[in-house]
């Protein structure tokens, strides 16, 4: 590719946070008149790259070149002035202002200090007309659908920047028709010579709109490809860091009697906008793995099963008896446990001690009036600290001061203290060191040997294969495949994740 084609380039872009290198010498280039998809799993460095480009973060090393000239945006306004506009998934406009005010805030036409309303509304109408949108611009923004708000956001960003447009998951909350409408707008801008960076978890959309794809993994550049030379399987392999040639001998585990009555039976349970209705039996002593790309519906599955996001259809039975799962309280009462994906925001309470964090779920189940005696609390905490090898000076240390792996173990201890029959673990091994990693996997195996049932969500396919009796594959918010025992291999999982929607009908079981 020739130098002159590059509208925006980064060379050796590096950004380090305490403990992690979020971007490691990433080269990226964007041409004028192309839609360039930026792909990668959680923590791959997509958002860090975007934040460096828009000035939200200052890079530690490397160059950003806009049309060949080095730039150094200090904040988003600076980036806008340079010609780089961004539209986020959450519409960053003000719902309480009119559409016209949103489009022209800070640039309203004035006469002797007073805003000329009519001129402002005319200009706003003209701006939107370019996108084929004819709406009443004097109404408040929140009178319109998210798709229209997105287009208004794009119109504002483009009118202020005009060279590079970054779309950060703009389609996450849109339905099919709205996505089509948005893509028409994006194509129009591309044909006008804008360079567009498109971030999305929906691979179908990437294949539909993108011209080229850059894949990041663990902060490093994996590759840049023309979309024409890629198929879904290859793309998923790139994102998950596996090569097609790689042979994996390892398969899942057997030994579960699927003819016996299941412990839990989810029939046709689903929630609109989160996960399509699915059937799932959970057997005694079984580990069910859930695989899928980020945003595919894997976390939504867990939240639904725990009552955190109540189901709007289907039913659940426990040991043959109907079970009501309208809230986490119901779930805890039925002997469920749930260790969520983001332990920092929805798991641990950083200022409370290790002991208090461990006792929390048990106390909640007993009800706050029946306090767990302090002696029992101490016994429990000390017991789990020993059993799970939680590295802490003592049980009274604030949990926020522990390392990630030890926090994760304390979270596990919280649920184990309630003696759950069914434990849901969402990404139990993310962001923890190798040693703690192995211990948590060993613990998962021990727990299921003791008769507990587990549902584990993980992006680490090797890990899923190692401990799962069954793997559910989720794509585009639908359970698309179920692999059992010998059939579980990383290749089979990757293929199921990558298979285009059209072929998704058959079931691998």
């Amino acid at each position: 590719m020739s130098e002159s084609q590059a509208l925006l380039r980064t060379e050796g872009l590096t950004k380090t946070f305490p403990g992690t290198r979020a971007l490691d010498a990433v080269d990226f280039d964007l041409r004028a008149g192309e839609v360039h998809a930026l792909l990668g799993e959680n923590g791959a460095g997509k958002s860090t790259l975007i934040k460096c480009l828009t000035g939200a973060y200052r890079r530690d090393a490397g160059e950003i070149l806009l049309e060949g000239a080095p730039i150094d945006p200090r904040d988003t306004q600076d980036a806008l002035a340079l010609g780089i506009g961004t539209v986020y998934q959450e519409v960053n406009l003000l719902p309480n202002l009119s559409v016209a005010e949103n489009l022209l805030l800070g640039r309203q036409p004035r006469r002797v200090g007073l805003v000329r309303r009519r001129a402002m509304n005319d200009r706003a109408r003209a701006m939107l007309a370019r996108y084929g949108l004819s709406i009443d611009v004097t109404r408040n923004l929140d009178a319109y659908s998210v798709a229209i708000q997105q287009i208004v956001a794009i119109a504002r960003a483009v009118s202020m920047s005009g060279r590079v447009l970054i779309l950060d998951e703009p389609t996450a909350s849109l339905d099919r028709d709205e996505v089509a409408m948005l893509f028409d707008v994006v194509r129009g801008l591309r044909d006008n010579g804008l360079g567009i960076i498109f971030i999305s978890h929906f691979l179908d959309q990437v294949f539909e709109i993108a011209d080229r794809v850059t894949v990041l993994r663990n902060g490093r550049l994996v590759g840049v490809h023309d979309i024409g030379g890629l198929d879904r399987l290859r793309l998923v392999n790139l994102m998950l860091g596996r090569e097609l040639a790689e042979e994996t001998r390892e398969t899942g585990r057997g030994g579960i009697d699927y003819d016996a009555a299941p412990r839990l039976r989810f029939s046709g349970t689903g929630r609109r906008g989160a996960i399509a209705p699915f059937d799932l039996d959970v057997h005694r002593g079984e580990v069910i793995g859930v695989a899928g790309l980020l945003g595919s519906g894997r976390t939504e599955t867990a939240e639904l099963m725990f009552g955190a996001a109540p189901m709007d259809c289907g039913s659940v039975t426990s040991e043959g008896r109907p079970l009501r799962l309208a809230s986490p309280r119901d779930a805890i009462g039925a002997g469920f446990g749930f260790s969520p994906e983001d332990r920092k925001t929805s798991g641990i309470i950083g200022d409370m001690s290790v002991r208090e964090n461990i006792v929390l779920a048990l106390q909640a189940r007993q009800g706050w009036l029946r306090r767990v005696p302090m002696r029992r609390q101490r016994e429990l905490a000390d017991d789990f600290i020993k059993r799970l090898d939680i590295r802490t000076s003592d049980a009274e240390k604030p949990i926020g001061e522990l390392s990630g792996g030890n926090q994760q173990k304390a979270l596990l201890a919280r649920w184990l203290a309630t003696n759950p029959e069914f434990l849901i673990l969402d990404e139990p091994t993310r962001g923890i060191d190798v040693g703690a990693h192995a211990e948590i996997i060993r613990m998962i195996e021990e727990l299921c040997a003791s008769g507990m049932s587990l549902l584990v969500i993980s992006a680490e396919l090797d890990e899923l294969v190692a401990y799962s009796h069954r793997v559910i594959v989720v794509r585009d918010r639908v359970h698309v495949a179920e692999l059992v025992g010998e059939a579980i291999t990383t290749d089979a999982i990757v293929k199921a994740i990558a298979r285009p929607a059209a072929e998704a009908g058959e079931n691998a079981r």
Partner: protein
């Protein structure tokens, strides 16, 4: 129709209905005399409520204004008693002080990221304390300029008097309406009320706007203090206790969302007039305790907050219905 107009329209309807009820009982209430008195009596509250409207529109609150009014009165009275300076330069000096005081609170709110409630609560004690330091007694004001202003009025048809201080309030409202609804600054105030983080991302100068909003509130509190000194011909450090709460009530009854981002400065005028109307009714009636004013205002306030909450829920429901559909 824009659902956000509803609280404002409700205020107007309540005002008209209330006035009709008053008129049916006391036909004399429909006269320019009563209207002139409503404007004069409501002048100091109306002026300070305009500043409060901006503060609340931006999602903040200013608890200091009642104390600032008292401080202003005492300051003016002491200056006129102890120095030979003409009132006009004293006013200019006072307005500079109260504006700077408001700006300082805005700066603290922005720079230290402190809740406006706490910062202006501190400002409330500070201003009241400064008033005590100047004088603990009520100081009468006697100056030819005061006599002139107090007798300056325009005789409306029907022998009603539009006094200078009543006219000042109307002028402040006109300026406030233009500033809020027709300038970039006004749009920025609404933007802050819609969401500070988003406003910042959209390029609103958050710091400057915050400082200006509280400076404006301080300026108008000072002006209100001057008007109050004309109204009472005295400066007293114990005066206007709780006026900040009356101002907040007027703003909310006027249809401005207490959480910010939505409302009309004109609504605040109606809010002030409704409060004055209740007071006038009680005066006309003669047998009712004047505490009934507080009770009715309390009931109105409650009704408006419930109305606003209901409107928010309706808008949210509509939005989610659209998402699903």
């Amino acid at each position: 129709m824009n659902p956000r107009l509803l609280p404002f329209l409700a205020t107007v309807v309540i005002f008209v209905v209330a006035y009709v009820i008053c008129w049916l009982q006391f036909p004399a209430m429909l006269s320019t005399r009563v209207i002139g008195n409503l404007l004069t009596d409501g002048a100091f509250l109306g002026i300070v409520a305009v500043g409060m409207t901006f503060v609340i529109l931006s999602g903040g609150i200013d608890l200091s204004v009642g104390s600032v009014i008292a401080f202003s009165g005492v300051f003016v009275a002491v200056m006129l008693r102890d120095t030979g300076i003409h009132p006009v330069p004293v006013f200019v000096l006072l307005l500079a002080i109260t504006t700077a005081f408001g700006a300082a609170m805005g700066l603290i709110i922005h720079v230290l990221q402190m809740p406006p409630f706490i910062v202006t609560l501190a400002g409330m004690f500070l201003a009241r304390g400064m008033a005590y330091v100047l004088s603990v007694d009520s100081i009468p004001i006697a100056h030819p300029f005061y006599d002139w202003v107090q007798t300056a009025y325009w005789l409306m048809p029907g022998k009603g008097r539009l006094t200078l201080i009543g006219a000042t309030m109307l002028a402040v409202f006109v300026a406030g309406i233009l500033l809020a609804h027709r300038t970039r600054f006004g749009a920025n105030v609404f933007a802050l009320g819609g969401g500070v983080q988003t406003a910042r991302l959209m390029g609103v100068p958050v710091g400057r706007t915050t400082v200006l909003i509280y400076a404006l509130s301080g300026l108008l509190a000072g002006l209100s203090g001057i008007v109050f000194s004309f109204y009472t011909s005295a400066g007293y450090s114990l005066a206007t206790v709780g006026v900040e709460l009356d101002a907040i009530a007027a703003v909310v009854i006027g249809g401005t969302l207490l959480t910010g981002g939505s409302g009309f400065v004109a609504g605040t005028l109606i809010g002030v007039l409704i409060m004055g109307l209740i007071q006038t009714y009680i005066t006309f009636d003669g047998t009712l305790s004047s505490w009934w004013t507080k009770i009715i205002i309390g009931a109105l306030l409650l009704a408006f907050i419930v109305l606003q909450k209901a409107l928010l829920d309706i808008t949210a429901k509509r939005a989610s219905a659209r998402e699903a559909g």
